[in-house]
Amino acid sequence: MPGEIGTVGELFMLKVLTVLSLALVMNAALAGAALAQQTQVRIAVALEPPTLDPTANAAEAVDIVVYQNVFEGLTRIDENGTVQPGLATEWTISEDGLTYTFTLAEGVTFHDGSAFDAEDVTFAFERIVAEDSLNAQKALYEPIESVTAVDPHTVEITLKRPTGTFLFDIGRPDAVIVAPESAENNARVPIGTGPFAFVQWDRGSRVILERNDVYWGERPALTRATYLFIGDTATLTNALLAGDVDGTNNMAAEVLDVFAADPRFKVLVGTTEGEVILATNNAREPFDNPKVRQAMAHAIDRHALIEGVTYGYSQPIGSHFAPHNPYYVDLTGTYPHDLDAAKALLAEAGLPDGFSATLKLPPVAYARMSGQILASQFAEVGIELELINVEWAQWLEDVFTNHDYDLSIVAHVEPFDIGIYADPDYYFGYDNPEFAALIETLNATTDDAERKDLAIEAQRILAEDAVNGYLFELAQTGVWDARLEGMWQNSPIEGVVLRDIRWVE
């Protein structure tokens, strides 16, 4: 970001690389002329999916490859986070908000040639809510009372209670429609109805998708897409610079300057649904004291944190809510960075000399870096943090399941997930019946203006209680070949959607 100017030596390094690569661009240009219109793309993503079945695995990496490419749901979420028709071309909702009637698209086939109809929809949803379901978001679909195939192209879903987010929820990767014939094998050979069909998966290396030429909807421009799994930032930077990949959905902020300055690339900065929070164990001393949590909130310098971790590419948050959401209210000023106020609050809480605590950090760069910076910031008010780096599996067990932690840093990436604070058994240990009642009202409310008021009230309660430290909203920073168009700038839901991506000259 601005403010840092490379030294002579650093610029020299870049120059050497540029000269070397320019000489080669000439060669490449000659070779490139033979390829008339590019219709293939190679996209680098950080994590390899463990399986390719989004209905039985929580990993975001699964969705990134298959969501809306291989698999489709009844609805789909677009780049702005709004619900669009998917396999259901239209729907009606009963007066009481309990019955949804979906009209299904016609002439749809799965990639293995089998036809798609209402039976597939009932199968897919019954599989999600089944007793032995492995769906990671099963709880979201718990309001479903029944799913009925009225005729081959009409499905009726009845709910136990009105659910404001139902149309969004059935557009999630977890609720894509799978066929009874192929569902069992989707983990390795995914068969969906989407615009791209699965070709091959070279484990550890790449997944290749090819355009589905009998796709029922609009045909995409790309004929072939390869997802390459590159976790290391240095390696990914080199792969982009060398032209070995055409783009990546999310690049570490520290190297974006390299690409921003290079006309061969474009940097797309957008939003995600990831609120990075300093998760705080409210059930444990001294964090059960609101004054201590408020003191911590005063001790956080969000500006330095955002500069240091994301090089300024992220927005600060003051509560558990995404800034780009229409219900958002700016609460970053609730407890401004103020060391004296922090010390005073600590003294009031009977801890004038501060205290020590542990901070468990999962293996993601934003957490590890934020942890170091926060430890340095907290030290100024006498709070000594011991950093403990853990792997995800261990984080899930220690922090999330057993609540065995003081503090942690993690991004909550589910859209509109403020409701997690209503559960006193959630790992925050936050028990506020008033808040829980508010969320219950919010869930049952369908009127938009009312929902907005309730959501704002919920944000305010969390901010004032300083339940967690609210740090920043993760940005999505994609780096792409300058000639590519149609990539999602924002990431309202996990996925790298190929349907609009195309090469332009």
Binding site: L134, Q137, A187, G204, T235, N238, A393
Partner: protein, 315 residues
């Protein structure tokens, strides 16, 4: 023959103990594979279902013997997270890691040995000093750092070779080979440097011995004598190092595969551990142990062939 038999018995015993250590050590790992697969929003009920499905509820000793038993018939089980047979997953990756390790070994020998011989023949000359300084450098550069420098020059700058990744052999053998070039060089450098040093030392030592003096007395020049007799005799220590190298290459492979995002065994075990895919971790570890033990066994046998006196001694 008893020597060979003793060796084979030791081999089998090592493997059994290794299997037990691997199995029970991994059982202690914190973190539940089922919870990992299903993520933070899954219900306790879904996690319990998956645990039963994965066969995680049986007592440890039962699972241990079941595991050993099925491995003996070539069945390594099914990966928790990927749902594919472990043997197949390992097989795929071996097609990357094994050629990479072999290429690095051949390259290190092809570069290291001649350098060692050249330095020994011109012992004390500036060439000797220069080569040995290079060898010192080769040993001292951290291989992941060297790998990155190689990428910047040959892949990003000159674009002679890819920055990483791998094209399967059956698709394009030439591309597969190209993908292994830079990682192979990064991996081979320290080994080549070590071999050069060992070769030089061994040769210098050999030249002081009787048969070289005899050869010299017969009218051979020093370099002829060294070439005819010295190199052959210096080969024993070099053989030892080559055998040991395989074990070290395994470690190097894990790091280098990460630098070049190669789909090899090293990356597989890394992700398998972080995803708590214990059955896969066990499978890979035992395969690596078999690999290293087997090379050590083969080196020992070669050794005994070259030098029969060793059959008597313990080592």
């Amino acid at each position: 023959m008893t020597f060979v038999l003793r060796r084979l018995l030791g081999f089998a015993a090592t493997l059994f103990v290794a299997a037990a250590v691997i199995f029970f050590l991994l059982d202690l790992l914190p973190g539940d594979p089922a919870r990992f697969i299903l993520g933070i929003n899954a219900s306790a009920e879904a996690v319990a279902n998956l645990r039963i499905q994965l066969g995680l509820e049986a007592p440890a000793w039962q699972r241990f013997f079941a595991w050993i038993g099925s491995m003996l018939i070539g069945d390594f089980g099914v990966s928790y997270t990927q749902g594919a047979p472990v043997a197949a997953l390992i097989g795929e990756r071996l097609w990357v890691s094994l050629p990479l390790a072999l290429f690095a070994m051949v390259l290190s020998a092809a570069v290291g040995l001649p350098i060692g011989i050249a330095a020994a023949r011109r012992r004390g000359s500036p060439i000797d000093t220069g080569l040995m300084v290079l060898a010192q450098l080769g040993v001292a550069i951290p291989n992941f750092w060297f790998g990155m420098l190689l990428t910047l020059v040959f892949a990003v700058g000159l674009r002679w070779l890819p920055t990483g990744g791998f094209t399967p052999w059956h698709e394009d053998p030439a591309a597969a080979l190209r993908a292994l070039m830079l990682p192979g060089i990064a991996l081979a450098l320290p080994q080549a440097a070590i071999l050069a040093r060992v070769m030089r030392t061994a040769l210098v030592e050999v030249t002081g011995q009787d048969f070289i003096r005899t050869a010299r007395a017969k009218g051979m020049t020093m370099s002829e004598a060294v070439w005819r007799h010295g190199v052959r005799n210096a080969f024993l220590p070099v053989l030892t190092i080559l055998g040991l190298q395989f074990a070290y290459l395994v470690a190097g492979v894990i790091i280098v595969e990460n630098v070049f995002y190669l789909p090899g065994l090293g990356r597989l075990i890394f992700t398998a551990i972080s995803e708590r895919d214990l059955i896969l971790v066990r499978g890979i570890t035992i395969v690596l142990v078999i690999g290293v033990t087997l090379t050590m066994l083969l080196t020992d046998l070669c050794y005994a062939l070259v030098d029969p006196r060793l059959r008597e001694g313990g080592s």
